[in-house]
């Protein structure tokens, strides 16, 4: 299984969190709100495309809407491979963090 870069991981999780309507602006808002880092649409698309090529995401075109100047949205969803990869990633990361107690559990 391929390793994921930091930003790729965030994009995958962002798509997952907006599973109902995961298009670029929504994913971007999700990442910005949770990480506090600003993200540009252009760089988001570079990563979305790469993840789609890797088979971790799939996409479909929605209906055009007027607020977007009559252009359609492209909705993304995490594939089964993607979900599996995220699980593995999460386990690895948790294993590395376990018992260090650097960050108090927030929830």
């Amino acid at each position: 299984m391929p390793d994921l870069a930091e930003f790729e991981l965030r994009v995958l999780l962002g798509v997952l969190r907006r599973a109902d309507a995961a298009y670029a602006v929504a994913v971007r808002d999700e990442i910005e709100a949770r990480t506090g880092r600003s993200v540009s649409i252009g760089s988001l698309y570079i990563t979305l495309q790469r993840l789609e090529r890797k088979g971790l995401l799939r996409s479909r075109l929605g209906e055009p809407t007027s607020e977007r100047g009559g252009r359609a949205k492209r909705f993304y969803a995490v594939t089964r491979t993607g979900v599996a990869l995220l699980r593995a990633e999460c386990r690895m990361t948790q294993a590395m963090w376990a018992g260090l107690g650097l960050v108090a559990e927030e929830r």
Partner: protein, 846 residues
């Protein structure tokens, strides 16, 4: 729609098809959402998208990875043809090095501010005499204090003056150059100590001095122990307060020691013009306005006089402020020629690769793709050439600075400056685009379409782009050569200017008497001894020799003539002064033994003084005064005018016998040698030390050397222009050579057939030369037009000649055509050695 929005939408159209529409929609959505709060913020956020969008578009089209592949291919190509690559590289390095060096100098001297606080508000303030074209006269204290009292546009006006002092008590007596600065000057330029502390400049402070960094290192090895110790200057103890910063220079007045300048009540009234003034403008005051104000103050004080303020930066770099941009432009032209040359080389190679391109085009490569490949292939050579150019620019800058006259005035030139690097990098990328795009355009042209199988077509000339390049090179270099020829002509004329005296065979000495020590009897006795010395044909004393010192000017009113404020230089001289310098007497007599200390006061005037004061009348017997007519002098002789340097205008002179002037002492001796310089120097030493063994003898120089030095700036400009022109000419001749030898190679088959059919080879060779001459003629015509249109830019480098002298244009045109014929004849001659049978069997692309 705003410009940013339009740009972003245009960019989004370049994205891969499947996301282009969605991304455009996303950006639009984001914009509308942000714009509801703030349009400016929305636009800023959209602008921040541009780099990522560009990158996304480039990546998706494989432009980036393809470009990288082409770059690597370029490196391999260069390695396969090392000789051609090296030639291109050197040519480029030369062009880039010269351009980068000139940029580094421009950056250091014109773009960066001077190292003073609020440097942009500092101005040099001069007195002017408009009627005599004098615009940089040093003002007198009386004028300075008038400015200070009445000019409101200045925060402060600082004054300084130069002096000399003899240092004793620490090894050999040494004569030092002293710069005296007053309290306001210290404030204006923010004077500070690099080591130790600032000397106290205010009135009543103890005698203190500061050392220049250079003198501190030269004389005391940079030892901190000297700070706080005491030196003996002119017999007085002076405490060394500290050392000045190394880069400190005020108007280029170099000095070993800096001392305070204070004015007594009497000195404030002085009308001797010996001050240099730097002022600080009040906040928000334009230089022009302050200049007008100070001019009005001077004019109201004394009609005929004026004043002006010049930004200190402009004053400090002086004529370099005009020269550097022009020279930078010239190196730009040189770089263009270098690019054209390298483009020619690449083009010659590209046309050998025509079949490769044709095959690639047939396989579906777009024209843009092939053009891109050519440019990418150009990059490695340009990049390495750029690095070599940067290294070379370091040497060039050092050579330039070492050569430059009056370099003390200028700030040091930083080479490791980000702006210089950026310039070098941008210049190399631009030149790669420049010389890569020519073969790119040719390589991508439709005419290649049928070239895949073309090896039989007979071509009798080089391809049009190659001929065009050669013509462009010739045009640009003709423009440079014309400029260089004009500068040379001006220099030759300048070095032949009649100075009005004969410097050849004269040696000069400086004999500063210690203040307070007896001087008239010493000099009289010295001259008496020199008269009888073998090896000396004549000896004359003055306080300021031409070619060496400007001296001081004053006003010399004449009795019975309405006062005219005319700047007149004065010199106190000994009787043989005129004979020694061979300044011819026009009328009357020279000074002699009659003009002793108590005798009636006499003067000798120069022709221009006499003509301006008593037009059409005899000058002998008339009476003039020094600044006032209180103690008049009778004119006993008229001498020819002299120029202080070859490029200086003629200024009226008044000469007075040194024995009759008590306020000033002569300090410079000119000796006309009988046999050799060494013998004359020896004779002077013997004569001086026989009278006073403690008298220092300094500044031993021949007047020829001084004349040579006064032309230093001109010689330097000449050398620069000639080297530019020489490099340009060589490059463009190489270009012509390339065109002809390419034509010979390409048309071997045709020529072979013709020779086989009985044509003689000489006319064929002549035809090739004629083709080259046609190119050169077109280039030369264009070059002369360029030179004609840009003539005004070189005017600053010329003295006494017009920048559009037809004779220079004609000579350069003839020279270029001749050189072209010669450069073309070498490869054309090869035609005569073609073996028809072999030629017909040749693959003309080989």
């Amino acid at each position: 729609m705003s410009a940013v929005r339009r740009l972003v939408h245009a960019l989004s159209r370049l994205l891969p098809r499947e996301i282009a529409d969605a991304a455009a929609g996303d950006l639009e959505e984001q914009w509308r959402r942000d714009a509801r709060q703030s349009r400016a913020r929305a636009a800023a956020r959209l602008a921040a998208e541009i780099p990522a969008l560009l990158w996304c578009a480039l990546r998706s089209r494989d432009v980036v990875s393809t470009f990288g592949r082409d770059l690597r291919y370029g490196v391999r190509l260069a390695c396969r043809q090392p000789k051609a690559a090296l030639l291109s590289l050197l040519t480029l390095a030369l062009g880039l090095g010269a351009a980068t060096a000139l940029f580094a100098l421009t950056n250091a001297w014109l773009l960066r501010p001077l190292p003073f606080p609020d440097a942009d508000r500092l101005v040099a303030v001069w007195e002017t005499v408009p009627s005599q074209d004098v615009f940089e006269n040093t003002p007198a204290p009386a004028v300075l204090f008038e400015w200070r009292a009445r000019a409101r546009d200045f925060d402060a006006l600082g004054a300084m003056t130069t002096a000399v002092a003899t240092m004793t008590g620490a090894g050999d007596p040494e004569r030092l150059a002293v710069l005296r600065v007053d309290e306001e000057m210290a404030r204006v330029v923010g004077l500070r100590a690099a080591a130790g502390r600032l000397m106290s400049v205010s009135n009543g402070a103890p005698a203190e001095a500061m050392l220049s960094d250079a003198f501190w290192h030269r004389r005391f090895g940079g030892s901190p122990a000297v700070i706080g110790s005491s030196l003996t200057l002119d017999g007085q103890p002076v405490v060394v307060a500290g050392v000045l910063p190394a880069d400190l220079s005020l108007l280029g007045l170099g000095a070993d020691v800096w001392r305070p300048l204070r004015f007594t009540a009497a000195e404030r009234e002085s009308r001797s013009r010996y001050l240099w003034v730097i002022g600080r403008l009040r906040h928000g005051i334009a230089v022009a306005r302050a200049s007008d104000e100070v001019n009005a103050v001077s004019m109201s004080r004394e009609p005929g006089l004026g004043a002006r303020a010049v930004p200190l930066q402009e004053q400090t770099v002086g004529s370099l402020g005009h020269d550097l941009p022009v020279l930078l432009g010239a190196t730009g032209v040189l770089l263009l020629i270098a690019c054209a040359n390298v483009a020619g080389l690449a083009l010659a190679r590209a046309s050998v690769r025509r079949r490769e391109f044709a095959v690639r085009a047939a396989l579906g490569a777009s024209r843009g793709r092939i053009a891109m490949q050519m440019i990418a292939e150009a990059m490695p050579v340009a990049f390495v050439g750029g690095i070599a150019g940067l290294v070379m620019s370091g040497w060039l800058v050092r050579a330039f600075v070492a050569w430059l006259p009056q370099r003390e005035a200028l700030a040091p030139v930083p080479l490791a400056d980000p702006r210089v690097f950026a310039f070098g990098l941008a210049a190399s990328v631009l030149s790669a685009l420049c010389f890569g795009s020519v073969p790119a355009a040719a390589g991508a042209s439709r005419r290649n379409a049928g070239a895949a199988g073309d090896d039989t077509r007979v071509q009798s000339a080089s391809p049009a782009p190659l001929r065009m390049l050669a013509a462009v090179e010739i045009a640009l270099s003709v423009a440079l050569v014309i400029a260089a020829a004009l500068v040379s002509r001006s220099f030759i004329r300048l070095s032949r200017v009649d100075l009005g005296f004969t410097p050849n065979g004269v040696v000069t000495f400086e004999l500063p008497r210690r203040p307070g020590s007896e001087s008239h009897a010493f000099f009289t006795e010295m001259l008496r001894r020199l008269e009888t010395s073998p090896g000396i044909a004549g000896a004359g004393l003055t306080q300021a020799l031409p070619l060496k010192s400007f001296g001081f000017g004053s006003n010399f009113p004449a009795e019975g003539v309405p006062p005219a404020n005319r700047l007149t230089l004065w010199r106190i001289v000994s009787p043989q002064y005129f004979d020694t310098l061979k300044i011819p007497m026009v009328e009357g007599r020279a000074f002699d033994g009659r003009d002793a200390s108590g005798a009636p006061r006499v003067a000798i005037v120069s022709e221009s003084y006499a003509k301006a004061t008593w037009p059409g009348q005899r000058a002998i017997g008339r009476r003039i005064g020094w600044a006032t007519l209180e103690r008049p002098m009778t004119v006993v002789g008229v001498v020819r005018d002299i120029r202080l340097t070859a490029s200086a205008p003629i200024v009226p002179h008044v000469y007075m016998p040194f024995t009759q002037v008590d306020e000033f002492q002569p300090s410079q001796l000119a000796v006309r040698t009988g046999a050799s310089v060494a013998e004359a120097v020896e004779a002077v030493r013997r004569a001086v030390w026989a009278i006073d063994p403690s008298q220092p003898i300094a500044g031993i120089q021949t007047m020829d050397a001084l004349a040579w030095r006064t032309l230093a700036r001109r010689r330097f400009q000449l050398a620069l222009w000639i080297s530019f022109a020489a490099v340009a000419a060589v490059l463009s001749l190489v270009g012509i050579y390339g065109v002809v030898s390419f034509a010979v190679r390409r048309s071997v088959k045709e020529l072979g057939i013709r020779l086989a059919l009985g044509a003689r080879s000489a006319p064929l060779a002549a035809r090739l030369v004629a083709q080259a001459l046609a190119i050169a003629a077109a280039g030369t015509t264009a070059g002369m037009l360029i030179a004609y249109w840009t003539a005004e830019t070189v005017r600053g480098f010329l003295v006494g000649i017009e920048p559009r002298e037809p004779i220079v244009y004609a000579a350069v045109a003839a020279g270029v055509l001749l050189a072209t014929a010669a450069a073309a004849a070498i490869p054309a001659h090869r035609v005569t050695r073609i073996d028809p049978l072999e030629a017909i069997a040749t693959d003309s692309h080989g």
